[in-house]
């Protein structure tokens, strides 16, 4: 039996693969605890949290300038929030539209999907050219924001389309035929069913926008978002404060993921309670 050799070989290979995926981040996390006089490489002179203090502005003045994260972090969070709201609303509306077959649905589908395909550097360039020509000043809450939605809306749309495809239209029709108004039906029947999809679409939109870089590069104007601030430090020499930042921002993302997980769990347990009532 070949699978007796094949299975362990593939298992070991997959382990090495995971090491390949995680290795750089592990090294980066270790090096973020470098001492103040150490560089961004091995060996670790002395374990310390100096670079975390440095990042948060708690360390005394040093040769390394502080990462400009404060204002840019707030901007990035606001931008991601705006993007999440708009792309989720657009996603729900479009996915709802695609539940019925209609002429021209093919081109409309591909036009939406194109948003996640077009390289950021191209739409970014186009938007910069457009705003230059029209005399609109570029800003993270304007030109960058609309491009972020162009990028995240297709993801929200696809997630919701998958949910809508799976759910039975007759449930809504039953509600309507019992005389419930369309608005009420959406609130009491449709929305609870699609809620997990909405939550996933929001998570996608938020994390994609929060980390979006190439679409923002040409369109953010003078005030930088977080990824742009990080990119600015690439051209000069890097220090372990960047590594400390990487660890913290990863923890922030995991917090989001945990919140998502808790909301999802709470919702599904509520939904199963409903099911129990129906059966009982």
């Amino acid at each position: 039996m070949e699978s007796r050799i094949l299975r362990p070989t593939l298992a070991i290979y997959s382990g090495i693969f995971l090491l390949f995926l995680y290795g750089p981040m592990i090294v980066l996390a270790i090096l973020s605890f470098q001492s103040a006089d150490g560089g961004p490489q091995f060996p670790i002179r002395e374990w310390s949290t100096y670079w975390y203090q440095h990042l948060l502005g708690l360390a005394e003045t040093s040769r390394v300038s502080q990462l400009p994260v404060g204002d840019s972090l707030i901007r990035s969070i606001i931008l991601a929030f705006m993007t999440t709201v708009v792309s989720t609303i657009l996603g729900v509306m479009s996915a709802e539209a695609f539940r019925t077959k209609f002429k021209g649905s093919g081109p409309a589908f591909y036009l939406i999907i194109l948003g996640m395909m077009v390289p950021g550097v191209l739409v970014g360039l186009g938007m910069a050219l457009l705003s230059n020509t029209l005399g609109i000043s570029r800003a993270w809450f304007g030109t960058s924001f609309v491009l972020h939605v162009v990028y995240t809306y297709p993801f929200a749309f696809l997630v919701l389309l998958a949910i809508f495809n799976r759910f039975d239209r007759t449930v809504e029709e039953a509600s309507m035929s019992l005389g419930v108004s369309p608005a009420q039906t959406f609130r009491r029947v449709t929305f609870p069913i699609i809620f997990p999809g909405v939550l996933s679409a929001m998570l996608f939109s938020f994390t994609l926008s929060y980390d979006e870089f190439s679409r923002t590069l040409f369109t953010a104007g003078r005030e930088l978002t977080l990824p742009l601030a990080i990119y600015g430090t690439f051209s000069v020499e890097i220090y372990p404060n960047l590594f400390a930042f990487g660890v913290l921002t990863t923890l922030f993302s995991f917090t989001l993921l945990v919140i998502y997980g808790l909301l999802m769990k709470r919702f599904t347990s509520k939904a199963s309670r409903f099911k129990g009532q129906e059966e009982g």
Binding site: L10, A97, A108, V121, G126, L161, F254
Partner: protein, 303 residues
């Protein structure tokens, strides 16, 4: 649907089915309009602008809307820029093949050999978790890994395999290829695993009962059924790698210039028309690649 008759009194000649179809269509269009309008204004229009500006006249610091092909002529006669096209295509091809070669066995393991659903999900989640780290941080994480004083060199020296640190690891085409493969390989693993997970185990069992070796089963059943996954993964990886510039900018030490890097540097020096030409060339390449891939697989059917 009591509202139908009052809604459209003039359409009494149509059958209820036609009426309903008409109403559905109108509803779909109303719901879709905001989204499609957004895409038209903020995606299609900027792209048209890129094509338009590529024919503008470039002066030292601005562009004027007098049409000319000067920027195109300069681009197509410069060996630097033609070289960028070649570099982009070469890096794309190598990374694409690397993601397939590196990712396929992992997908094979997760999708076909792990039959425990919980473990399967756990492994897929483990592949996705790195995406919760910022993209730029994941790129920069390769520096302490590959540098002359980096982790790889340190380990190899400790083991006595090398005496001098390897210098080709960082700030070279090699580091760009490794970085891109690590960042994008998951987009290949995901779709392939999905397609492999859909294969009915009884088909493979039947083939085995009939005496087929694993090689035959792989060639005749597994590979053909997983090809749509490979194609979807290839589309993901292609569009992302072709539009890349950050990995090359931070890991190649300016030795690798992709079309994306050309655009960034031209915008930096306010050569808008020139950046637009590079943008159009990049668009043509990406369109060709996607068109080719879509010929081979119907994306909407696979969703």
């Amino acid at each position: 649907m009591t509202t139908l008759s009052t809604d459209t009194p003039s359409d009494t000649s149509l059958s209820p089915a036609q009426l309903r179809e008409k109403k559905d269509r109108r509803r779909a269009i109303t719901l879709l309009t905001p989204g499609l309008l957004w895409m038209a204004l903020f995606m299609v229009l900027p792209m048209i602008m890129v094509v338009y500006v590529s024919f503008w006249t470039q002066t030292t610091f601005t562009v004027e809307s007098t049409l000319t092909t000067a920027s195109w002529e300069r681009f197509l006669s410069s060996s630097t820029y033609l070289g960028a096209i070649w570099t982009t295509l070469r890096i794309w091809a190598i990374v694409l093949i690397a993601t397939i070669v590196v990712g396929y066995p992992v997908a094979l393991f997760i999708g076909l050999f792990v039959r425990n659903k919980t473990l399967q999900t756990a492994l897929l989640v483990a592949c996705v978790i790195p995406f919760w780290t910022s993209f730029l941080i994941r790129v920069i994480a390769w520096r302490p890994m590959l540098g002359t004083e980096g982790a790889i060199n340190a380990i190899l020296m400790q083991l006595g395999i090398i005496n001098e640190p390897l210098t080709f690891l960082l700030f070279s085409e090699f580091s760009v290829l490794v970085g891109m493969t690590q960042i994008y390989v998951v987009f290949m693993v995901g779709p392939i695993t999905f397609m492999l997970g859909r294969i009915d185990p009884s088909v493979i069992e039947a083939a085995r009962d009939l005496g087929a070796s694993f090689g035959t089963i792989f060639r005749r059943i597994i590979l053909p059924l997983s090809l749509p996954g490979v194609m979807v993964g290839a589309i993901f990886v292609s569009v992302m790698v072709l539009g890349e510039f950050a990995t090359a900018a931070s890991l190649s030490g300016r030795k690798v210039n992709l079309l994306g890097n050309i655009i960034v540097s031209q915008v930096g020096s306010l050569k808008w028309a020139f950046a637009a030409v590079a943008g159009v060339v990049l668009t043509i390449i990406i369109t060709a690649v996607i068109a080719l891939a879509l010929r081979l697989v119907d994306l909407r059917k696979e969703m």
